[in-house]
């Protein structure tokens, strides 16, 4: 069973937070553990995931991509078709139901690309909670559409101007808010990072991706896929896809953001280039300098632009359960273009990293094999960035 009682995946995870947050985290853990066992809670989750978010999502056979690259069949798990346009809503519905259960009616969240912010604002609107979302100024600039969506949904978007003005700074600021308003507020953390129980709880909520995909691939192929590919920032869509296959003979490939290249220093490849450290409440791989200061990162995709990664990924890497690779900005953009032109699907820049890597690995595998790529979100939010890049 991972994680253990203290929230450790092997040596990684734990709960490294100010004392003020400790009792709230213990309470959250206790409520989550008992809710999880209740049939009525699971039924309610299922209801909203199906009737509101639009689950199950299709597992689409990308015939054109497969033909073009030869080799293994490429399947896309279409999380981009969910309400709000990304997998993030799987988690925010679960956490909002928990917040109601804990009688915490003020919701706060951090957001990078804005997808988690939109999904939180959406669930907060649905369940009648007040919502504030912290977002780095740099991300507000590059993901303007999502800022507007959050405001339309009635959420307050609070710009964060400290540090690198991106996701890590937004998390710092959300934690500061939480420490201040701990008695009335639930923090809807958007990825499998942070202190225990978040990495476990967010994984469980996102595991619906892998559970469905596993059933779907067996239905069409009659057997398990050869490998699973997903992008890794904090790592929630990838863990969500991987975890239900944990005991299967299926390989996992996590794709980190290579930015301008791994040797450039401008990337967000925490697992490939980081060292073990403590960031935002858990022990995991962290991009840091020789003094243990957290480094600023770069990726064309705001959702992957984060110097840390979920402790379960660090555990998977450490135990060699998963393999991690990097795809740089330029390659991700070519993945973006490829999927748009060949399958008529405009992906978000985050999963475009995974698409690109799938195109490299498929030809090396047998035609009898299949690959599942997690298409974690759609690309509407990235149109401006892509437009600028391709000089359309």
């Amino acid at each position: 069973m991972i994680p253990n009682r203290k929230g450790y995946f092997g040596k990684f995870g734990g709960r490294f937070v100010p004392e003020t947050l400790m009792s709230a985290l213990q309470y959250l853990e206790k409520e989550y553990m008992s809710a999880k066992k209740e049939k009525s809670f699971r039924k309610e989750m299922e209801y909203y995931l199906k009737e509101y978010a639009g689950r199950p999502t299709p597992l689409f056979y990308a015939r054109n991509l497969t033909k073009r690259f030869g080799g293994a069949k490429i399947y896309l798990k279409r999380e981009d078709l969910l309400h709000t346009g990304a997998h993030k809503i799987n988690n925010t519905i679960g956490q909002l139901l928990l917040a109601l259960r804990m009688k915490k009616y003020r919701i706060i969240a951090e957001t990078g690309a804005g997808q988690h912010g939109v999904a939180t604002a959406t669930a907060a609107a649905l369940f009648g909670c007040k919502c504030s979302v912290y977002m780095g100024e740099e991300d507000i600039r590059r993901q303007a559409i999502n800022v507007f969506r959050m405001r339309l949904l009635g959420a307050q978007v609070i710009p964060v101007s400290s540090g690198s003005k991106t996701l890590k700074d937004a998390i710092n600021e959300t934690l500061r808010d939480w420490v201040t308003n701990i008695n009335t507020t639930h923090y809807v953390l958007g990825s499998v990072v942070g202190p225990h129980p978040y990495p476990m709880m967010v994984r469980d909520f996102q595991s619906v991706i892998g559970r469905e995909a596993r059933r779907q691939i067996i239905d069409v192929e009659g057997k398990l896929p050869r490998c699973l590919i997903a992008c890794v920032g904090g790592g929630s869509n990838s863990i969500g896809l991987f975890y239900p296959f944990y005991k299967d003979k299926v390989s996992f490939i996590g794709v980190e953001a290579g930015g301008l290249g791994l040797s450039s220093g401008s990337h967000a490849a925490s697992l490939l280039k980081g060292k073990i450290g403590i960031l935002h409440g858990s022990k995991s791989a962290v991009l840091q300098d020789n003094d243990g200061q957290i480094e600023t990162t770069h990726s064309v995709s705001a959702g992957l632009d984060y110097p840390g990664v979920g402790p379960e990924h660090t555990y998977y890497m450490n135990t060699k359960r998963a393999e991690y690779v990097a795809v740089n900005d330029r390659e991700a953009l070519s993945g973006f273009k490829m999927l748009s032109e060949m399958e008529g699907i405009i992906p978000a820049l985050e999963p475009a990293h995974a698409i690109y890597y799938a195109s490299k690995i498929a030809p090396k595998l047998s035609k009898k094999d299949s690959i599942i790529v997690c298409l974690s979100g759609r690309g509407d939010k990235d149109i401006d960035i892509v437009k600028e890049y391709f000089k359309f």
């Binding site: 004392e19 400790m22 201040t180 308003n181 403590i278 243990g292």
Partner: protein, 274 residues
């Protein structure tokens, strides 16, 4: 009588000796936090020496960190500046060693866990002790996760100080009271560091609760910025910790050559240091 302190004075570090001395005189501790390396490490030394002359009992030196999640704007900004000017743990330890040749004031480092974790926890305790540091406070390390540092500092004259907060449950207060060494740092409010006009009314009740479990000194920090608040707290606790108010004064006088003296003067004017 049990002061919650080690009985043999030979095994005490400077913090424990200081509290024993204060208790004998029936006095409260005045503890000052400053960000090490802000505006420079040289100035940090000047300020510490001036604080000692002004009558400050214990100095907390903040190790700057890129992501100070428990700090308000004042300390965030000072940390950012200190990092820009090259402050790091090695440099701070060296500076403490230099201060030690001139002063015996108890010095505690306050650091987020990552810079120390990266330095190596066992190496940190050894080097800190040999440079004359008396203890450490980690704002992001609850006792639940502190086995390593506690083990390394066993049998050393080195205090690992834990924080208690208004949201700590009775079970947690017991653990904190038991594990904290030197003193217990009570966080006055739910929130980040920074001066506040009004402090919560429930501080006294919380301190009373902690005192049920321990005879160790309990000092109160976060939000304290003037003598009225200081007196209020001194009537219920063993001392106060003042941080942002001092760092803010340093910021306003950053470029002054006699900054150390000025900080000493400010402390004497603003607080009771008798």
């Amino acid at each position: 009588m049990d002061y919650g302190l080690k009985e043999d004075i030979n095994f005490m570090n400077r913090i424990e000796k200081k509290f024993l001395e204060l208790r004998k005189k029936r006095k409260r501790a005045f503890i000052t936090y400053i960000t090490a390396g802000y505006p420079s490490l040289k100035m940090t030394e000047d300020i510490v020496l001036a604080l000692e002359s002004a009558g400050v009992d214990i100095v907390e030196l903040g190790v700057p960190f890129s992501d100070p999640m428990a700090d308000g704007l004042t300390i965030q900004k000072s940390s950012e500046k200190a990092l820009e000017r090259g402050a790091n743990l090695t440099g701070i330890l060296k500076r403490v060693k230099s201060i030690r040749s001139k002063s015996d004031i108890p010095i505690v480092l306050m650091s987020y866990l990552n810079p120390v974790y990266h330095y190596g926890m066992d190496k940190f305790v050894k080097d800190a002790v040999s440079c004359g540091v008396d203890g450490v406070i980690f704002p992001d390390l609850p006792p639940d996760e502190a086995e390593d540092i506690v083990r390394y500092s066993n049998n050393m004259k080195f205090s690992v100080i834990f924080l208690a907060s208004p949201t700590s449950t009775v079970e947690r207060l017991k653990i904190i009271a038991k594990r904290s060494q030197g003193f217990i740092y009570y966080v006055s409010l739910t929130g980040v560091t920074g001066a506040r006009k009004v402090l919560p009314a429930d501080i006294a009740a919380h301190i009373k609760k902690i005192k049920e479990f321990t005879a160790k000194p309990v000092c109160v920090g976060f939000g304290v910025s003037n003598a009225v608040q200081q007196r209020e707290i001194n009537s219920i606790a063993d001392g106060v910790i003042v941080g942002s108010a001092v760092v803010d004064f340093i910021r306003k006088n950053e470029t002054r050559k006699d900054l150390g003296q000025r900080v000493g003067g400010f402390i004497k004017r603003r607080f009771d240091l008798t």
